[in-house]
């Protein structure tokens, strides 16, 4: 494992080289080159120093301000506070759901599955993982999916790894289906002016097609494991004894929590209609609804309000996002991304198919190594830069979304869901999943889904 000082030296060298290269090679001015160098510090900071990446974002932002690369007013404007507030609101709602036993209830529903067979179990795992990732974020949904899988596999004494990998693959695919599935969804919606309906009509079908393809893939890939599970189900009988042990009563508070969550999702899904009705700016209701719901929650649970805000909101991650968005905005503010956009057009031409394909594959491969939020934050100002070159941006936004989500399946560190799920597996079962053990199934799923998304973006007139 490389030492801390080696990684730090590498970070400084790469970002300095990128700064100089963009200044001397691409002809960017000093401010533009500096903004690229600082942004690459944040990217490399997440890659090399995940546990304290925020410190690099703090220092980088300070340098941008001190060198007058950006002023305070623009820094605040580019920080995308609307996205941060949306995520804060959603995290408080998730905190309430957890508190009132919603996730335990979901786990119990999965465990209560009747007439269990391996095929039925895999189908349920993939479909529930994908759908849950659509409505709560991917990291939250994967935790209780892993919990349910471990319980079932423990009961039938089979290796849980194939089912956990299947659940993670489905979760990453499902997270592209709606605005709520992944932080990059709301980020793209906010920057591109896309609505929940747009996601429902354009992202959801692609995610579902990819999900079906992945179901076929895993059915073939893990055939032997499924045969073993079927054998154990035959030997031990169905899960009747397990079902008898389960006890998650649906209490009044859980019903109220479900009502709040349901209303939030309903209004979010109708946000565009309501905005048209009330003559509000695009995405106002979408961004405000989590705040309304979390505000109501904090009145209802006033004694726990502070706990929800302090413990259930991941301030560390959100602060990093805030500064990352501001730094990405600096690339736009200095004009660096406009130059980059022109250079890309110089290579690909303004052919939208070629451009969306390039963005899809770059974001897919990129997000297999990098945090997809970092990658998408970097791509957003570049895509915005294409606007001045009269390129139709919509297919590019979808390409960025699909690449950012599906690419996360390729490697073991490709998305937070992968890291969280395998972390639990290692802790609970002492099963360590090596890079290669994940890679082949991950790569196959990543390639198939990215190819499908590419084909749909290219051939369906819907996306042009």
């Amino acid at each position: 494992m490389p030492s801390l000082s080696f990684k730090f030296t590498l970070l400084v060298l790469i970002s300095t080289a990128l700064g100089f290269l963009s200044h001397l090679g691409l002809g960017l001015n000093q401010h533009q080159a500096l903004s690229i160098a600082i942004f690459s510090v944040s990217i490399l900071g997440t890659l090399f120093f995940w546990s304290f990446r925020l410190s690099f974002a703090f220092l980088g932002t300070a340098v941008l301000m001190m060198t007058k690369t950006i002023d305070l007013e623009h820094l605040v404007r580019f920080a995308s506070l609307e996205v941060i507030l949306f995520l804060v609101g959603m995290m408080i709602i998730i905190g309430l759901l957890k508190d009132e036993g919603f996730f335990a209830w979901i786990v119990s529903l999965i465990l209560r599955m009747r007439n269990l067979s391996a095929k039925r179990f895999v189908l349920s795992v993939t479909i529930i993982s994908a759908l849950l990732a659509c409505v709560v974020d991917e990291v939250t949904s994967i935790i209780f999916m892993v919990a349910a899988i471990l319980e079932i596999c423990d009961y039938f004494e089979v290796d849980p790894l194939p089912y956990i990998i299947i659940s993670v693959l489905a979760t990453n695919i499902g997270s592209a289906a709606t605005v709520l599935g992944n932080p990059i969804g709301i980020l793209i919606a906010s920057k591109a002016g896309l609505t929940f309906e747009d996601f429902l009509f354009k992202a959801f079908p692609v995610a579902m097609v990819c999900l079906v393809a992945v179901i076929f893939l895993v059915m073939f890939w893990y055939k032997k494991s499924f045969e073993k599970l079927d054998l154990h189900i035959k030997e031990l009988g169905s899960n009747d004894i397990l079902i008898k042990l389960i006890s998650v009563p649906v209490e009044k508070r859980l019903k109220i929590s479900l009502l709040i969550f349901g209303v939030t999702i309903l209004i979010i899904s109708l946000h565009h209609r309501l905005e048209l009705l009330w003559k509000l700016e695009l995405n106002t209701v979408l961004l405000v609804m989590p705040l309304v719901s979390s505000g109501c929650i904090m009145i209802w649970k006033r004694h726990k309000a502070r706990e929800y805000v302090e413990h259930d909101v991941e301030w560390w991650t959100l602060l990093f996002f805030l500064l990352l968005f501001a730094q990405a905005g600096t690339l736009k503010y200095t004009g660096a991304t406009d130059v980059l956009a022109q250079k890309i057009i110089g290579v690909t031409g303004s052919n939208p198919h070629l451009l969306s394909g390039a963005i899809l594959w770059m974001s897919s491969i990129g997000s297999s190594i990098l945090d997809n939020v970092v990658l998408v934050a970097a791509f957003i100002p570049i895509i915005q830069g294409f606007q001045a070159l009269h390129v139709n941006l919509e297919p590019l936004w979808w390409a960025l979304l699909f690449g950012g989500c599906f690419g996360g399946n390729i490697t073991v560190v490709g998305s937070t869901a992968n890291i969280v799920a395998l972390g639990i597996l290692e802790k609970e079962k002492k099963i360590h999943v090596s890079f290669l053990k994940w890679f082949w199934i991950g790569l196959s799923a990543g390639l198939i889904t990215t190819c499908l998304a590419w084909a749909m973006l290219t051939f369906l007139p819907f996306y042009r």
Partner: protein, 149 residues
């Protein structure tokens, strides 16, 4: 008043290589919730407590799921209890230990225990060796004794 005046000097400690089950027996016999773990160089390497045992036994995803879904203990928990019998103290103990010095003032030690949620804390001498242990009860006893005087 300094901690050296109230600390328990004759401390029972555990070895990192001791079986976790034997260590749990020691805790039960002493009717105590935790003990320091000291290596053969007399250096403090961790704290073995009931809390750490529970952390090992309960599923790590419990906090995220929010509630336990069973009426009875599931197979996984029973398996983990049996696994604990094969584990060493070093695999269960908490490595990040809150400590105080012999010269730490009583109220400062109380403040540390309160803010760090430590029931008892090992006391280190100038050579960073464990010279005693002090609990919340010891601190309270000393404070009340001072008041009565």
């Amino acid at each position: 008043m300094k901690i050296r005046e109230i600390m328990i000097k004759e401390i029972t400690s555990l070895s990192p290589e001791m079986s976790a089950l034997d260590a749990w027996d020691v805790l039960q016999k002493m009717k105590i919730s935790g003990l320091p773990v000291i290596d053969d160089k007399n250096k403090l390497v961790g704290m073995f407590t009931e809390k750490e045992i529970l952390v090992k036994i309960l599923p790590s995803y419990m906090e995220a799921v929010g509630k336990f879904v069973y009426d009875e203990n599931p197979k996984a928990v029973r398996q983990k209890v049996s696994l604990l019998a094969k584990m060493r103290v070093r695999e269960v103990m908490r490595e990040n230990v809150i400590t105080v010095n012999e010269d730490t003032v009583l109220c400062e030690a109380a403040h540390v225990m309160l803010t760090q949620k430590a029931r008892r804390t090992p006391v280190l001498n100038q050579n960073q060796e464990v010279s005693g242990i002090v609990s919340r009860g010891d601190v309270l006893k000393a404070l009340f004794a001072e008041y009565k005087e």
